[in-house]
Amino acid sequence: MTIVLLLISIAVLLLLRVPVAYAFLGPGMVYLIATGQSVGLAMRLIAEDTASFPLLAVPLFVLLGSLAAHAGIAERLFDFALALMGRVRGGLGYVSIGVSLGFSWMSGSAVADAAALGKVQVPEMVRRGYSRPFSLGVVGSSALIAPVMPPSIPAVIFAGLGAVSTGALFAASVVPAFLMAAGLTIVVFILVRRQPDIQNVGFSWARVAETGKKVVAPLFAPVIILGGILGGFFTPTEAAGVGALYILILGLCYRTMKVRDLPRIFVETVMTTSAIMLIVASAALLGYVFARERVPQDLATLMLGISEDPTVFLLLVALLMLVLGTVVDAVAILVLTVPMLMPIAVDLGVDPIALGVLMIISLMIGLLTPPVGTVLFVLSSTLKVPVGEVFRGCLPFLVPLVAICLLVIFVPDVVLWLPGLLDL
């Protein structure tokens, strides 16, 4: 009964536009007061959960993405991809996916990716005769590659919560991220056939070489980050810092970034991180309330009651993530559900790494669906188009994303192959 009341009050607050963090903090606090806990417990709980070592990677990866955006790396990737795909029909659609794929190695969040790439690409595509919903759809959906491809902020959070190796989770995400790009490419291939008006740009090897030179150094960043982790030079959290330092130096060398831009970049990073971390913290308070009320045990009984088959369990998890992901922020869902789902997964013999990748992909799909589709909002506001139009554009691209979720469920080797190969 208590939990039902709690959930209802959270839903009401969310509907009434109270920020997610406060919609969690308020009812959580009321519960602690009502059950006679001491004053200060709530604050201690949220501060202690924020002060976690693995979470230090969050601000650092946000900083890395912000630095990469300011250093003009997205533009360099765009020029290079354009030079490669100039003569291909619907080339800009593939360019968009390619740029997202390249940038995903430096960005850990879809929102940062959509913000950095949308503004350049969508106007360019519309100018060349691509339909606006299509342009928005391809940019919005390919932005989801960033949080799946390492470095990934949701992966960092999952690894911290589930006590699994961040490096293994990173490695496990590489293949699904490439599959996402491949799936989106197929949708582009199908859709551009129905767009007669699009113009192509020319192709020349000289242009490929010239633009290619400019992306060599930026694309060395993932080598430093992943290579640094897998080669044993630093831990994932340290790799985030070293990656940010590398891009910072690169931006200063390119003169696309000046030292006096740094305060602004830092403030941007602080704001984004704070918004994420407040939700992590508030969800942790709610997690405490759930633990007190034995919700994890009840959920386990419920899920195991439906079936004890690992595949059915993963299907249920994906479904739960897709549904929750449409209304609640992805990070909040991870913080709340990972501690509950992990013991069940271990019980059923589900690999925690496969669970993590599945949860991240299925949650990221929620970024493209109303009412809380953060990527939709970012594109809508950057480009001054209605959210509904962005969503319509994204719809066909949801098909391959859902298909990849199913692939991960039924063929977990897709995920486990690379970590196995690397002996992680």
């Binding site: 201690r44 190796s165 994890p296």
Partner: protein, 314 residues
């Protein structure tokens, strides 16, 4: 209300909230917390115990404040973590101070611990009702560690708390900081060369997969102090007695249980080829070194605690 606001009816029924960090199949839960619950409830003096395992109510060190504020009634805490409240109590986790797990439990039952525990309780407002070892800490690395000299040139990961870092220095190890969450990967990739932990942690983190040698140094008896918050003063005499007796029973069970679990694990390691067990660690050489180091470098209450513990050894 001290007991986390749990109902304390007119009939004298008290519900105690018991939190700890271990999973349900680790000895501190099976033989420690569960036994305390069964014994205390079975005494039929109006006590019920609700256990929250696996850090559900917050991380290890984070829960100390909750015990002091009465949001958690009973908790299992390592002495090194409790040294955040009162430094000298950390000496319980110092290197080679106790002979074995039984000695640790006996020390807390005897008068020899009165000064240390009294000073701790005064500083922390938290009561210590007993103690057990969850198993001795051993070294793992990619080379055997038999003597203090074998530690030369190895980057060894120690937990980042002052007591453990002090132990590292006393043992002659170069301590490196890596968060526990990142330890497996750091060992695997060679970011650090080795680490030290009780067998139960070495097993739960699958460290045998990424380390070649387990050197049975047994240099520190990773302790659990059974701490009880302000609810202790709200219990009547009969309830206090029942709880204390329940803890004593659990302490005895833990000594056997830890020994059994360690034996089982070592047999498993010996029969497999994942990790090689080094039996012939020169414990005396380490002991001499740490004893000399502590006597030379400790002072005040820390030295007093050290001497009280050493003095209680037969």
């Amino acid at each position: 209300g001290g007991s986390g606001g749990e109902a304390e009816g007119g009939d004298g029924n008290v519900e105690l909230t018991f939190a700890h960090s271990y999973t349900q199949d680790q000895p501190p839960h099976r033989c420690g917390a569960q036994v305390i619950k069964e014994e205390a409830e079975g005494a039929d003096v109006g006590l019920t115990v609700e256990i929250y395992d696996s850090s559900q109510l917050g991380g290890d060190a984070d829960r100390i404040a909750s015990v002091a504020s009465g949001d958690i009634d009973i908790d299992l805490q390592g002495a090194s973590a409790l040294s955040a409240l009162h430094t000298p109590i950390g000496m319980v986790d110092a290197a080679y101070v106790f002979e074995d797990g039984q000695h640790l439990t006996d020390f807390f039952r005897s008068e020899a611990s009165d000064d240390l525990v009294g000073a701790f309780e005064e500083a922390s407002q938290v009561n210590v009702l007993g103690a057990w070892s969850i198993g001795a800490r051993h070294f793992t690395a990619n080379s055997p560690i038999r003597t203090p000299e074998d530690l030369d040139g190895l980057r060894m990961r120690f937990p980042g708390s002052p007591q453990f870092l002090q132990n590292a220095e006393a043992l002659g190890a170069a301590a490196t900081e890596v968060a526990y969450e990142e330890l497996y990967l750091a060992l695997q990739q060679g970011t650090v060369d080795g680490q030290e932990n009780p067998l139960t942690n070495i097993d739960s983190q699958n460290m045998a997969e990424v380390q070649d040698y387990l050197s049975l140094s047994g240099h520190s008896l990773n302790s659990n102090l059974i701490v009880v918050g302000p609810v202790w003063d709200e219990l009547d005499a009969e309830q206090q007695e029942a709880l204390q007796a329940a803890i004593a029973t659990a302490e005895d069970r833990m000594v056997e249980c830890v020994a059994e679990a360690e034996e089982e694990l070592l047999n498993e390691y010996r029969s497999g080829d994942r990790i090689e067990i080094v039996d012939d660690v020169d414990v005396e050489a380490f002991q001499e070194r740490t004893d000399a180091w502590y006597r030379e470098n400790l002072e005040g209450e820390q030295l007093a605690a050290f001497e009280a513990i050493r003095g209680s050894a037969e």
